[in-house]
């Protein structure tokens, strides 16, 4: 019988010099593992950056057409008082930011619903689990997409888009022989960028975090129709609460989680958001609000549950 002992394992061994990996300590730093885990997510879900770039592209195309009659608008608007003029000039910039945020929100929701479900559905979880990456690293890398990566990407794309818009309208005004001074004077770009950055990082990153982590948890748990499972329990609790106690705390809680509660007026998505300059008081009232910290506690609980689930779950 052709036993392996008949072959010469020594020749196999001698033909290969010891690899650097064999000499180096056999560990990869946690930071490096996390880096690759996040890159993996970006490879799989290119919508994370393609969707906002596409939305920006479409918006810029529309804006380009609008610049053709920009000169006329500015001429007509010179009759308006400065406050109205500012609003008029700012409007498309606010709209661009809003559109990008909406895109991000949609991408984040769909990403979360698929994050821990897709790998079980296509059985690739068996491949990922064959590598020395812990369930904690995996879940944190997936959570970091809606909480950190998407907001940062969106901030960058929003700033780039608004900068391009600014250059386009300046060019259009110069081409029609007008001075861009009015435009420049009424467009607080840097202030808008601070606002957008804060809005995306604080609101999308932190305030929505419990909702995103809930979706992640459901995607790790549901065998199918993760979307329905994500919606049903909060809805059911709301209905029970309404019928049993005739109150609606849960509904208002969930509403505030998605940013339409009155208590967060300065940070809500609205046309006027760019007009109010961001003050230190806004930031501190946000950072020290009990709601935020309760939210962070909920986030930790959801993520811990998701990590535990991933350990138990196999392909479906």
């Amino acid at each position: 019988m052709n036993m392996p002992s008949n072959r010469s394992p020594e020749s196999v061994r001698n033909s290969q010099p010891p690899t650097p990996a064999a000499i180096a300590p056999a560990a990869v730093s946690g930071r490096q593992t996390m880096y690759w885990a996040i890159r993996r997510e970006l490879w799989e879900n290119r919508a994370i950056y393609v969707a906002p770039v596409a939305a920006a592209g479409i918006f810029l195309f529309g804006f380009l057409i609008s610049t053709f009659h920009l000169a006329l608008q500015i001429r007509l608007a010179s009759a308006l008082d400065p406050m109205q003029l500012t609003e008029l000039i700012e409007k498309p910039y606010t709209l661009a930011a809003f559109l990008l945020m909406l895109t991000t929100l949609i991408v984040a929701i769909f990403y979360c619903l698929d994050a821990l479900h897709g790998e079980r559905r296509d059985r690739s979880i068996l491949f990922w689990k064959s590598l020395p990456v812990s369930d904690l690293t995996t879940v944190l890398s997936k959570a970091s997409i809606p909480l950190v990566v998407l907001p940062v990407i969106t901030v960058a794309i929003t700033i780039a888009t608004q900068w391009i818009m600014f250059l386009m309208s300046t060019a259009a005004l110069l081409a029609s022989g007008l001075s861009p001074a009015t435009l420049w004077a009424h467009l607080p770009l840097s202030q808008m960028w601070v606002m957008v950055t804060f809005h995306l990082l604080a609101l999308h990153g932190l305030s929505y975090a419990p909702a995103y982590c809930w979706l992640l948890l459901v995607s790790g748990w549901a065998r199918r129709a993760a979307f329905v499972w994500a919606l049903l329990p909060p809805l059911a609790i709301g209905v029970v609460e309404k019928v049993a106690f005739n109150t609606s705390y849960i509904v208002s809680l969930l509403q505030s989680d998605f940013g339409s509660g009155p208590e967060r007026a300065p940070f809500t998505i609205s046309d006027t958001m760019m007009i109010h300059p961001l003050t230190a008081a806004d930031v501190s009232s946000f950072l020290f609000s009990p709601g935020l910290w309760i939210g962070m506690f909920v986030v930790a609980a959801f993520l811990a549950a998701a990590v535990r689930l991933r350990r138990y779950q196999g392909p479906i």
């Binding site: 490879w43 068996l126 491949f127 020395p132």
Partner: protein, 291 residues
């Protein structure tokens, strides 16, 4: 330290018992074939060893508790649990980059060397590769990892015979070096018979037979006789018999070779025949061939 040590391993899915008190000890440097019918508990046993399934009982793999320390264990253990588990969206180059990024014992040059022998393009996505190419890619990734234990659960399932042969050949020639341990399960037993050092049969959640290949060769004999010698052969108490064209085949356990030679042709039995004999006997007299 044994590579794998299990005592009283149990696992039930509801009322269905997948592992029913498995005791197992595997030393380093062996190639074990784990053979069993569908639903015998092979995959469950392997999943427990790999830390993918929770279990009751005691289990140490390379000195670690696989369920609690899967991520640490995976630095020294590799597995291919199915041909189709590579994510379909990943590019070949991305798969290499990722494993190189997260695995401390991955040798990129080695993986690229293996891939260079295939027709796989670095820019292809897994979904664009044929089933055989995906298996080649997975094997290239795994063989480039300097692991101490490699677990293959039906690694060549659904591949054609050429790919299967190539798969096991490269495993033996390019990977195995006596310090590594390999566990293979497959239904195509004959194909791996000549690469194994040990064989183990599982049935209904239990290990019903285990033996090294050396022992198998010295202990078990297959005798092929013409009908006129059948009665004489039967009197030597074969563990199993079956009919072939114009001949009767008997399987003997611990019978003097010299007694058999006059009766007909004596050979080492194939694992498949031994498997049928052992599992067949389990249903009837039971335990006959079990140590």
């Amino acid at each position: 330290m044994p590579c794998i040590e299990a005592r009283g391993l149990r696992k039930a899915y509801g009322t269905n018992i997948a592992l029913d008190g498995v005791n197992l000890r595997l030393e380093e440097g062996r190639i074990l074939g784990l053979i069993g019918p569908n639903g015998a508990g092979k995959t469950t046993a392997l999943n427990a060893i790999l830390g993918i399934t929770q279990y009751q009982g005691e289990l140490r793999v390379l000195g670690r508790d696989p369920w609690r320390e899967r991520d640490l264990l995976m630095r020294d253990v590799c597995f291919i649990s199915d041909v189709a588990v590579l994510p379909r969206w990943i590019k070949v180059s991305q798969a290499i980059d990722y494993v190189a990024g997260v695995h401390p014992r991955f040798d990129r040059a080695k993986a690229e060397g293996f891939l260079a022998r295939t027709t796989i393009h670095r820019t292809s996505k897994v979904r664009e590769l044929s089933k055989g190419m995906v298996a080649q890619l997975h094997l290239a990734l795994v063989m480039a990892i300097d692991a101490r234990l490699l677990v293959l659960d039906e690694p060549a399932l659904g591949l054609d015979i050429l790919y299967r042969k190539q798969f096991y050949d490269s495993l033996l020639n390019d990977y195995f070096d006596r310090s590594r341990t390999i566990i293979v399960t497959t239904h195509q037993v004959e194909e791996i018979q000549n690469i194994l050092t040990d064989v183990m049969f599982m049935d209904r959640g239990r290990i019903v037979f285990e033996c090294s290949m050396e022992e198998l060769e010295s202990r078990y004999m297959e005798l092929s006789v013409h009908p006129e010698h059948a009665a004489a052969a039967r009197s030597l108490k074969p563990m199993y018999e079956h009919q072939a064209i114009g001949r009767t085949i008997f399987l003997f356990d611990h019978v003097d070779r010299q007694q058999l030679i006059p009766l007909g042709e004596v050979r080492t039995p194939g694992i498949a025949d031994l498997f049928v004999a052992v599992i067949g006997n389990q249903a009837g007299t039971a335990q006959g061939a079990t140590r």
